[in-house]
Symmetry: C2
Subunit: 176 residues, 2 copies
Amino acid sequence: MAKKKKGLVVVNTGNGKGKTTAALGVVFRAWGRGMRVRVFQFLKHTGSRFGESRAAEKLGIPWSALGDGFTWLSKDLERTAALAREQWEHVQAAIRDDEHDVIVLDEFTYPLHYGWIPVEDVLAVLRDKPHMLHVVITGRNAPEALVEFADLVTEMREVKHPYKEQGIGAQPGLEF
Amino acid sequence: MAKKKKGLVVVNTGNGKGKTTAALGVVFRAWGRGMRVRVFQFLKHTGSRFGESRAAEKLGIPWSALGDGFTWLSKDLERTAALAREQWEHVQAAIRDDEHDVIVLDEFTYPLHYGWIPVEDVLAVLRDKPHMLHVVITGRNAPEALVEFADLVTEMREVKHPYKEQGIGAQPGLEF
């Protein structure tokens, strides 16, 4: 079978670790090849300073987090949803501009899962994306229709987790 | 429960994508925090030039691949095994030196799975590692005793894979 070349839609989902982390690995690799990479984070606090955003800043990789740090305890979900929709507008503009080789949409499954952004709108945009653009989407509970549509889907399955089993906190560098 | 701080032994295993990629994400994050990172690759050809090794070179992250590009079709397994054991000597020296915060052992499960390096030797070294050092191990078929010993284990499970389903080749930047 002849090998086709095309930009892939990649989904990293599941309850285990490594969804965002593997997306960052793609950023690292693609940057190593001189590809044009851009990262959009959903939900995480606007301007959060994690290891990954620090690295991106040092490397000049455009990175934007737009959110209010949504958690299961958030009260103002309307605001969370509005920020996610605003971020999605930025993503659409970036896809249309066709100036990148890889675009990462981190934690993007949540606004889809909660119905803040209609999955069919997202699929319409992905269907029309530049042919060679790779889009990497992370987060739990990836909607079935997105999994259906995506080219490469991996479920990160938790086998063992130190928080729960040993009372170990999240480790800087390793997990954020 | 009080949060303890310690370097973790992390294993990314399973048949899906994202095992090495998530380890690279840790490299990216940890580098972003100014941590001292080092990568050892097993089996891959000595001096292979992938996106990740190019990125590491640009960033000054010490990276060493020692191997002969082992595949299921390799004929000279004695040589493959000898190179893996030689690389393991370098790893032990690096762990003893205690000059790093994160050490990645990429595709390290294979020499263990094939019995080229005894699992109990590896566990003895990991048991005595510097307290705050994180060690990230990737590859399929992680031996049960390693999973038992590790702090954080994730299985990357293949849900959908473009090679098989659409005849798409591995994509530079995304997968190597």
